[in-house]
């Protein structure tokens, strides 16, 4: 049975984690651990793909709380996300066989890497609230340990601290959500919860808690502030795993609670989800555009993509609640497809950033440039990833965004007025986010890989080893494949979607020429394969024609630059100057950007100075006030440390009476 195989994989990963403690001191320890993780992830991946269409399998183990035991289940939804997570795990392990050799303290990474993988799988398999929360918290802790792996940098310590606080906060909210779902009957296994959906009001509260709890893990605005600190702090293969894998586990948590355990949705449930998703999509990419640290820009772009996924989920909720299950299936498929796509290209992007970091030792884009000459293969793989995440056809990012647009175009049929106003606005924000993402990745790629080297490290960069290149090229190939054969992916996700929305998209397997048709042929269709063939064919045709009939001569000469070539490397556009026009358009309103220019008077030889200040409104508007409130509260609570014994007793007594009262009134 598939669920047993998955659990054995988890057990083996945990054993590998224990083994890694002694192994990390050995010279060959790192390849053995990562190799083992690779093999186990591949086994898990094959198993999950095979389980996509299979009926759900369950297993109960006498672990965990006495009396309840630990329940595990592998159904279509779990299988989709298991496949995504195992894919990320396998590629990260392959990459790390090469990348991990340079780690200076392998003992701080090796044991936690397999444990992190195991915990993520366990979340996806859990079938009762206790196992779910236990696995969720283990996942947070294992990733926290990886974030703080390089603990000497003060920046990383701060990131890890913020991450730990936010992760605990998220788990706490999910705990409350399960508590409310369990109700007074105290049902904690998912089978029982599914049979007893909550009342309307409680359902709304649980939705809010799940959105906040899972959303904080996934990085929804305004709960995102930890993510761009924590994801870049970890080693690059772990950054990839966190951004590509762990955020998807958070999406899974939201899906499991809201779509599966809470019964039929209310009409308004889609509204908060849609609003949070659209805001995250637009703001995340705007933040990403302003960063000059390459890994931090990627982390912010994760927020954007999670926002796109949540827009899909919000649409799916709205459609299913308003009796349009077929449209709901389309929106949910789009969201799942985008989750898969994001896992593919974001892993690849973080791998590329790690390769650059390994080759140059810098993360700041302002000191890179011209890497395409020293690292041609990395540059090629990164180009595919940048094009894919910018939603350009014929790659995979475009297909999922196209499906979401198609879902938006069905939504005038929704009856609720609030949705009628919100959905077009969300569509506009989504289109804006897609265009800004293209700008962001032109900038990221152009500044770091093109142009002339801005520093000696960039000039000396050399190509990375075979393992890392292999992982990157494999993911690039998958990006192209998912883009040209989207029908396969849609069909593979159909059972999971059907289980949650009660409908499925029309089967794509029989459509002529392998195109996809989300609703009806007269309405819309798209064929990535033919687009690729046409573009490649006409490019080849014209290249052949010109080379044959016109000219094929090439001469190298100094750059022309409108007649004023300047050999100074400082005359190139930098990352921040590239973003300046967009910063002028959006920056002043979104993050109160302030530019100060100090220009010395004529004759003064001191340099001109330019200072830029950006504020993340989430920090000023939400986190700092909260932190201050907690600080003030803890100051008050401090008095409790100096009470007499009689007063302590009075406190305990009061608490007891209060609880009894609650029981008397509620029961």
């Amino acid at each position: 049975m598939a669920v047993v195989v998955e659990l054995w994989c988890v057990a083996a990963l945990l054993a590998l984690a224990v083994l890694a403690v002694p192994l990390s001191r050995a010279h060959a320890g790192s390849p053995i651990v990562y190799g083992g993780a690779l093999v186990l992830s591949l086994i898990g991946l094959g198993n999950a793909v095979a389980a996509l269409a299979a009926p759900a399998g369950t297993l109960a183990l006498p672990l965990g709380l006495p009396g309840t035991g630990a329940h595990f289940r592998l159904d279509g939804l779990s299988a989709v996300f298991l496949a995504i997570v195992h894919l990320c795990g396998a590629s990260a392990s392959l990459y790390a066989i090469g990348y991990g050799r340079h780690a200076d303290a392998p003992g701080r990474v090796l044991p936690f890497f397999p444990a992190f993988l195991a915990a993520m799988s366990l979340v996806l398999l859990a079938d009762d609230a206790y196992s779910f929360l236990f696995a969720w918290e283990s996942m947070s802790l294992a990733s926290w340990a990886l974030v703080i792996a390089d603990h000497r940098a003060a920046e990383n310590r701060r990131a890890a601290y913020v991450y730990l606080v936010m992760a605990s906060f998220g788990t706490f909210l999910l705990m409350l959500a399960f508590g409310l779902l369990a109700g007074t009957a105290g049902i904690y296994d998912f089978v029982g919860l599914r049979a007893h959906p909550p009342a309307a009001l409680v359902g709304g509260v649980v939705l809010g808690l799940a959105l906040l709890g899972a959303g904080s893990k996934a990085g929804l605005v305004p709960l995102h502030a930890w993510l761009p600190l924590a994801h870049p702090a970890a080693p690059s293969h772990v950054s990839a795993l966190m951004s590509a894998g762990m955020t998807k586990v958070a999406v899974y948590g939201f899906l499991r609670i809201v779509f599966d355990l809470m019964g039929p949705p209310q009409w308004w449930w889609g509204i908060p989800v849609l609003a949070a998703g659209a805001a995250s999509a637009a703001l995340g990419v705007l933040y990403a555009l302003m960063q000059s640290d390459i890994k931090r820009a990627l982390a912010y772009s994760t927020i954007e993509n999670i926002g796109i996924v949540f827009v899909g989920l919000g649409l799916a909720l709205a459609f299913t609640a308003n009796a349009l299950p077929a449209a709901g299936a389309l929106a949910l498929t789009a969201a799942l497809f985008h989750a898969l796509n994001h896992a593919l290209f974001k892993s690849l992007l973080f791998f590329g950033a790690g390769a650059v970091l390994g080759a140059t030792g810098v993360r700041d884009m302002e000191r890179m440039g011209g890497l395409i000459h020293g690292m041609p293969v990395t540059a090629f793989a990164m180009l595919i990833a940048c094009a894919a995440i910018s939603a350009l056809p014929p790659l995979n990012g475009f297909v999922s965004e196209w499906l979401i647009f198609q879902a938006i175009l069905i939504s005038p049929e929704l009856p609720a007025w609030g949705l009628k106003l919100l959905v077009p606005a969300a569509g506009a924000l989504l289109a804006l986010a897609a265009a800004l993402a293209a700008a962001c990745f032109v900038r990221l790629y152009g500044i770091s890989f093109l142009g002339r080297p801005r520093g000696p490290q960039a000039a000396a960069a050399r190509e990375v080893d075979r393992w890392q290149l292999g992982a990157m090229l494999a993911l690039a190939g998958l990006c192209v494949l998912a883009g040209v054969l989207p029908g396969l992916v849609i069909d593979a996700m159909a059972p999971a979607v059907a289980a949650l929305t009660g409908a499925r998209m029309p089967p794509q397997a029989g459509v002529a020429w392998l195109s996809i048709i989300p609703v009806a042929e007269s309405r819309s269709s798209y064929n990535g394969l033919l687009v690729l063939v046409f573009v490649a064919g006409s490019a080849a045709l014209v290249a052949a024609a010109i080379h044959r009939f016109a000219s094929r001569a090439v001469r190298r000469a100094p750059a022309w630059d409108c007649g004023f070539p300047n050999a100074g490397l400082r005359t190139q556009y930098t990352a921040s100057s590239f973003a300046q026009p967009i910063r002028r358009v959006f920056g002043a309103t979104v993050f109160s950007a302030r530019e100060q220019i100090h220009m010395p008077p004529p004759g003064d030889l001191s340099p001109a100075r330019f200072r830029l200040r950006l504020v993340d409104p989430a920090w000023d508007g939400l986190y700092l006030p909260l932190a201050r409130a907690v600080w003030a509260l803890s100051g008050r609570m401090n008095a409790l440390q100096y009470l007499s014994i009689r007063r302590y007793l009075a406190l305990v007594f009061g608490a007891l009476v209060l609880l009894l009262l609650v029981l008397a009134l509620w029961g």
Binding site: W417, K420, L421, T589
Partner: protein, 220 residues
Amino acid sequence: MGSLVFDVAHLLAGGLVLLSLVMLYQDRLPALIRMFALQAVVLTLSVSWQAYAQGAPHLYVTAAIALAFKAIIIPIALQRIVVRLGLHREVETALSIGPTMVAGIALVALSMVVMLRVTAEADPLAREDLAFALSVVLLGLLMMVTRRNAVSQVVGFMSLENGLILAAAGAKGMPLVVEISVAFSVLVAFIVIGIFLFRIRERFDTVDSAALDRFREGQR
């Protein structure tokens, strides 16, 4: 035929809303005033079409008044004020153009939803005309709120009044007397405001209404 009547009325009313948005977008006073004159012309067309469609000849009078005053006399007078006073040609904004446009779209959406929900059983022509009219009124108010310069505030006020006339013409039944009195009151308001402009200018050397605020602060 019925559909054509409806479509044309609709298009003209939509044109009024569009011109209101265009006026929000303008950053030069002369261009703003020209757009206002254009809006008055479209209003004239719209009201005339309503007169033809409803067979209500008194609406032609309304249209003629709108054309004479709002499309010709007032814009020319305003242009002369701008030239005579040597005002800054740029519109001084309290909120920059991008956010103002977003706010404008949100207001149009709001008025659509409110009107379409409230008047669910009325006939579609009046319904959507009313929705457009409310949009024009709200956009005029938005312009008065977000523009610092007194001339553009006057233009915002006039365009607000255009929305009222559109509503009146669509609602089939405002008596002629009322319309004429509205038109004259607007004219009187315009004259009063015009005189004020000159006085303000003489006194403070600017028509930026913030100067008045500063003056009031100083008096306290």
